[in-house]
Amino acid sequence: MIVAWCALLHTSFLKMNLADLPTEMVRCILSCIWPEDLFCVLTTCRSLHDIALPLLHACPFYGNLTMREKKHRPSYLGPLGNRPLEYQSFVGAISRRPELGSHIRTLDLSDHRSMEWNSENSKSLSTRDAKTLARRACEFSQMHDTDWFSILTRRIPFTNFMYIHQYRQAFILLLLSYCHGLESLLVNDLQCFQCTRLGNYQVSSAFGLTLATLSNLRLFKIGCGSRSAESGCGWNYPSALFECVFTLPNVEKLSMCLFKPMGMRKRRP
């Protein structure tokens, strides 16, 4: 009897199509596969596309990939880390399709790419002078094919540009403004920190990105980037960091690397 029942079950299982499985089960299966394969699944049919798309965007940056993984990662998958061009390309894609931003659950911006952003291609935007600000904003717009300036001004009031000190911050802010379902945010240097501080500033000043953007945040980790290591012991007591962190309403796991002085040993593995 049991054998017959098993045989029947086996036959019906063989006839079963992947699409016949409950959506939750398919999502669970797809969450276990690599982004490369996920991209292939995405292109098969509409139903799988709808399930795979949020998964593909759930964690768009892979700062912790090994060299081997980076090497074997297909170029069509988009950004690897925080390299300026890759980053801008991704933010550009999200700004064209804002609905994709709501799928982003984890933003790992902890890759050490700040030096590339600090190169001559990334001039400082720091100024409080309106004329200089306008000139810099025009430069910013001309430097890139995409009309970033118009995108930025659409998302963030122009008057608040004075709080953006680096292009990277502008891009991070822009990206954050699309991530309404963000659950984990990992940043790794003072620039990002200043950016998150901007997020705090917005709470009281209707900056565009409101606290609601980060209301789903469960994990917030701020590391210590190369810049703070170079600046030695300058960043001793970051009261401003506390001002930012203690406004995140639902965060459950908080990790703060406050300061990385010269001469200190490496962080734990």
Binding site: K221, G223, C224, S231, G232, C233, G234, N236, Y237, S239, F242, E243, F246, T247, L248, P249, N250, V251, E252, K253, L254, S255, M256, C257, L258, F259, K260, P261, M262, G263, M264, R265, K266, R267, R268, P269
Partner: protein
């Protein structure tokens, strides 16, 4: 950037923290690589009253003999007191006192030299296991004192603590003489004890394995070992190979009372070795 004195910065931080809203959602808090004061730790924890996992990794003190930066001493007694917290009735967020709520506690300390001129010297000294000591640095005429003061002392009031990661000097005090037995310190709820090694390369370090072995044996043989199931011992690789530590007896003793004794060999936190492999190498050298 102008440097501010320790007192000013601490006051600024504490004033800032006092003005912050409480975050009852935070269950896990990690503070890494910070020179935050013992008092400020308490204030941060006051604002995160529901924390059950607390990791304070690489709490830093600057040994550079200047008035510009921070205290050169870490007061372990004060740190323990601030972590345990005071029982303050809170009508907005009713919660048990911190000492009763904490399930995971991890603490490690680092001393560094912020003077760029001393940077290379201090690194090479560390590699040789040489010049740095807890309590003294510099020449005889103008010694610079730094290090740890006091100890965590009894943790019996941490009634929910399951995992404790700490180095022996922080838990028991810098000096072996007068240290309390582990059975009088560790809470009965503890299931995993990790003994870290971040200060074991200092010349005046007293808690080498031979010394600690006596403490651990007494603890394992006592009836007050509670629910302890795992002891993990981080051993400094240089010390390990130099003195050819034999842990087999202790491991056997632990096994008889159903406690797993594990070792992790780690050199200055950079690399991790499999203890058995290193031990095999030592034995091979002895043949």
């Amino acid at each position: 950037m102008p440097f501010q004195t320790y007192g000013d910065e601490e006051k600024k931080t504490i004033d800032c923290l006092k003005g912050m809203s409480t975050l009852p959602s935070v269950k896990s808090l990690e503070i890494e690589q910070s020179n935050i004061s013992e008092l400020a730790v308490g204030h941060i924890l006051d604002k995160t009253p529901c924390v059950t996992s607390l990791v304070i990794w690489d709490i830093a003190r600057d040994t550079f003999p200047a008035e510009r930066v921070i205290s050169k001493w870490l007061d372990c007694t004060a740190l323990a007191k601030n972590i345990a917290g005071k029982q303050v009735p809170d009508t907005h967020f009713p919660h048990p006192p911190r000492s009763k709520a904490l399930e995971h506690l991890s603490i490690s300390i680092t001393f560094y030299d912020s003077d760029p001129n001393n940077y290379e010297i201090s690194r090479s000294s560390l590699k040789l296991g040489g010049a740095y000591e807890c309590g003294r640095f510099g020449n005889i005429d103008a010694p610079v004192e730094f290090g740890i003061k006091g100890s965590f002392g009894s943790m019996k009031n941490f009634t929910s603590l399951k995992i404790l990661e700490i180095s022996p000097p922080v838990l028991l005090g810098w000096h072996v003489a007068g240290a309390l037995p582990l059975a009088e310190i560790l809470p009965n709820s503890l299931s995993k004890l990790t003994l870290l090694n971040e200060m074991s390369h200092w010349v005046s370090f007293q808690w080498h394995f031979e010394t600690l072995n006596t403490q651990l044996r007494a603890f394992v043989e006592s009836k007050d070992r509670g629910r302890l199931r795992v002891i993990e011992y981080h051993i400094f690789e240089d010390v390990f190979t130099r003195w050819k530590v034999d842990i087999s007896e202790l491991r056997k003793l632990c096994k008889t009372v159903d406690i797993r004794f594990e070792t992790v060999s780690r050199e200055r936190g950079d690399e991790e070795y499999d203890w058995d492999d290193v031990y095999d190498e030592v034995r091979f050298d002895n043949r």
